[in-house]
Subunit: 200 residues, 2 copies
DNA sequence: CAGACCCTACCGACTGGTTAGTATGCGGAC
DNA sequence: GTCCGCATACTAACCAGTCGGTAGGGTCTG
């Protein structure tokens, strides 16, 4: 039963946080399998004892990264989808936000999209289920617009969802912080492409 | 300097082929790092001696998979881009074909998009360069249409390319052979989304 | 207030198992 | 007879996870 020091009332202890962020960076940089537990603890300035005090296994660390990014993205999508605005506006905002959020948590999302298959069977199912909820929420927005005739229904909504998240997923392959466009500009363009594709 | 048996004049020997396809299947199924050389040779019905007779290393096998899929896709893109037809037609055909080809070589492309970061530095550069050529060819098609006014230029062509290939890349995450749509239908829909997004 | 006790947080050496790659041998085709 | 195509047995390295240990702050007791 991991800690909860008096120092940090709501969150994690300092060592725990350092371990998690060191792991995140190294996983994103070299991949999960190519990162040894020793490298992680060295980068965090502690030893294996500390790691296994806070985490059950190396897989556990990976799972924590997933849980964090899933939670953040779901919360943000819900907020945008629940807003009081026309459906086209809500969809555009949500579509752009996921791009910005993905770039803001670049290491996490890189790992997320690259290492799903490393997770154990049960954890993978868990992540998939969360991911499905997320996609369904997004799809509901598109279907809403299709029902009112604001969006074309030439292409099935779930395919449109995969089309858009494909591009988000793909960001890890080409986005560079020193690139020509800012994250916000990229997000606006990608959201624009989605809305353009949905014009009747 | 690998073989070239009298039996298969143009291509590879039977053992070499079996090794490569066993490796491809296992890499796609469990990932590169989680597949041991022993598993590969067992699946191919040979021993390590055979593998190291034909390939220099485990990484070498991965690289072969990459080279094969790159060659196939580049050839097909060139054929479609060089066709004698309006640019919208050529783009649509090329965009749909890459989807079908990706599904037809599902194991190869799954590995391709998932394991790039496992490659050594030099081989990775090589693959990136080939990939860039590929994208540039595709981008040229879009720019051609933008120049004539047939396509909207609201979004930069290179972003549009990444948008589309994002969805192709992403296929490995959701496509299932027993799904509702045939590969051809999926391809047509995705190409349709691209062309729709490019309407002025 | 002192001392006994304890518990959290962490250390670091060790282990058992796995792995990529190698060294050597051998049978059959030419 | 010799060389190609592969088998077999081996090794050196590595790595996730374990385990006994301990520093030091807190708490309980007399």
């Amino acid at each position: 039963m991991p800690n909860r020091t008096g120092k940090a009332p709501g969150g994690r202890g300092a060592v725990e946080t350092r371990l998690l962020s060191a792991a995140t960076r190294l996983f994103a940089e070299h991949g999960f399998e190519r990162t040894s537990v020793q490298e992680i603890v060295d980068a965090a300035g502690v030893t294996k004892g500390a790691l296994y005090h806070y985490f059950g296994s190396k897989d556990d660390l990976l799972h924590e990264v997933y849980a964090r990014v899933l939670r953040i993205q779901q919360e943000r999508l819900d907020a945008f989808a629940d807003a009081d605005a026309p459906v086209a506006r809500r969809l555009r905002d949500a579509a752009a936000d996921v791009v910005v959020t993905t770039i803001d948590h670049f290491d996490d999302t890189t790992i997320f999209f690259r290492s799903l298959h490393q997770l154990g069977e049960e954890q993978r199912r868990e992540v998939r289920a969360a991911r499905r909820r997320y996609h369904e929420r997004f799809r509901a927005l598109i279907e809403e617009g299709q029902a009112t005739g604001e969006f074309s229904d030439a292409v099935p909504a779930d395919l449109v969802v995969d089309y858009h998240f494909g591009s988000v997923h793909h960001l890890g392959s080409w986005y560079r912080p020193d690139g020509r466009l800012t994250p916000r500009e990229i997000a606006d363009h990608l959201a624009d492409l989605l809305l353009r594709a949905l014009r009747p």
